[in-house]
């Protein structure tokens, strides 16, 4: 069953075409990686999916329903959640309050008391339980990322969009997070899309399928290893010469 479908989506900022005629489908329970160099339109793509931007052309469907023109606050309750490239905690609130907000207004739609309980569980899951009464603004950058993951998970999404969530983490933390995401995906049957710029190693461990973005267009889409070894993808990242040398 499909969870998300983009049909010929285009977004322009003045003369710049940030996302150019992109179409793809994500199935329920899939683990997808979106990769692409800096400026390839990945973040714009996320903003289009969760409604921060409205596309100039094309349509977006969530579980078969057209959500192209829905504002972000109407999309989240349908079962969509995301994290941000630069974490955006509600700084003066405590960590547990941050996560509880997710549970209250996301698909979970919990009452305040339920939300605080849900928040506790997810904080335990990501390993931030001890910091539950710490102001979110005072967490370390890594902890802020984990808090955002917990906050997004507490929304009980059907589709989770992770924006560079593993950037700046050491390999041990990355492995731990990937295992956690795998486990949650199995247990709760949610589709997870992870967007990365450079952490190919992490993506190979996590994603079943990869979409490669380049200059606003979808360059390639397919099974992870197959796509990442494609000469076109290597060219995008390392330049033509490297590919020629490798071939020659």
């Amino acid at each position: 069953m499909e969870i998300l479908r983009l049909e010929n989506v285009t977004k322009r900022f003045g003369g710049l075409v940030a996302v150019n005629n992109v179409s793809f489908t994500i199935e329920k329970g899939e683990a997808i990686g979106i990769v692409g160099p800096n400026g390839s339109g990945k973040t714009t793509l996320y903003n289009l999916i969760n409604g921060v931007y409205i596309p100039d052309e094309g349509q977006i469907f969530f579980e078969g329903n057209d959500i192209t023109n829905l504002p972000p606050h109407a999309r989240a309750p349908l079962g969509m959640a995301r994290t941000f490239q630069i974490p955006r905690p509600f700084g003066s609130a405590t960590t547990i309050e941050n996560v509880a907000v997710g549970a209250m207004f996301g698909y979970a739609n919990a009452s305040v008391d339920e939300a605080l309980e849900i928040a506790e569980n997810y904080l335990k899951l990501v390993g931030l339980y001890e910091k539950r009464h710490t102001e979110a603004g005072k967490l370390t950058p890594l902890e802020k990322r984990l808090m955002e993951v917990a906050r997004a998970l507490a929304m009980k999404p059907k589709l989770l969009l992770l924006d560079e969530v593993m950037a700046g983490m050491n390999p041990t933390d990355i492995d731990r997070l990937i295992n956690l995401l795998k486990k949650i995906r199995m247990e709760e049957d949610i589709s997870i899309v992870a967007m990365v710029e450079h952490l190919m190693h992490a993506i190979t461990k996590f994603a079943e399928r990869v979409i490669v973005m380049h200059q606003g267009k979808k360059l390639l889409e397919g099974p992870t290893m197959e796509v990442l070894n494609n000469p076109k993808v290597i060219e995008v990242y390392l330049g033509k010469k490297v590919v020629q040398n490798a071939e020659g």
Partner: protein, 331 residues
Amino acid sequence: MKFSEKYSSLIPVMTVYALLFAIGMTVPGMWQPVAFIMFYITLGQAFNIFLGLTGYVDFGYVAFLALGAYGMALAVQNFSGLGIGFGVIIIGLVLAMIMSSILSLAVGAVALRLRGAYFAIATIGVNEGFRYFVEGARLWGGSEGIIISGSMRKLFGRELSNYISTFVSDIFVFAIAVIAAVVTIIILNRKMGYALMAVREDEDAAKVMGINVTKYKIMAFIASASFAGLIGATAWTLKMTYVFPSDVFLITYTVEAIVIVMLGGAGTLLGPIVGGLIYGILKYYLSIILPGFQLLVLAPLLIFIVVAFPEGVVGAIRRKYTGEMTRKYLK
């Protein structure tokens, strides 16, 4: 969370109210200063529901106070012949709330779609605009306003109407302060409180998390405005027994409300009380000790406090002491 834990932060608030009330009632000559300070605490408490919880500054806030004042005046003027005695004042209170909340809905539905500073600029015009409208269109007596002292005397007799303006109106203000504090803590404990916290901290992130930010901002705006209406009806109309547009549409009250909320700590329950105490006491006693120079002294004092506690006094305490007690009693 347990019920007692949710509402425990009302204890210090109600203690301060009770202390002030006791001082006013028992110490001779203290009722007037206590009522003066209480006016500012209540104003701060009402404004805090909007400014404190959403982080939006409304420079037109006094317009709601003014409309409330008119609501009470109109009720007394028009219904004093009905022979329902004290019922007129009840009608006045209801009318004050309705009028100020209708205006806030109209202003909010348009202006609250704007962000931060743009909202503040948009609201500056509301107060001045409404004042000139009242004067120019000769609405509600135009610039001559409404004088209700005659109707009040007819309604309640000379003695009782004096008692209402010197004492009962202050009791009303006390009651409004209590209700405003209870409403604030109820909002803070509900989903709405968490939604407004998110709006204050990061409006875009809040939207992405499924929070209908405009809805919650308008709800806070209307709640705050209807309390302003009640304050106008009681602390102004019932106390002064007249309403002149040039007096009630005075931006000074907006500025004072902002100062009080910022002094005490925006978004905290105890903040407006601390702010109101500091501001009210300083203003009252400075005008006695240094008549004419009070503002010259008050301004640097306020600047000093704001520099020392940029998050307000209560905000600074909460940041410094993050223990169990703070969480429980300092919301």
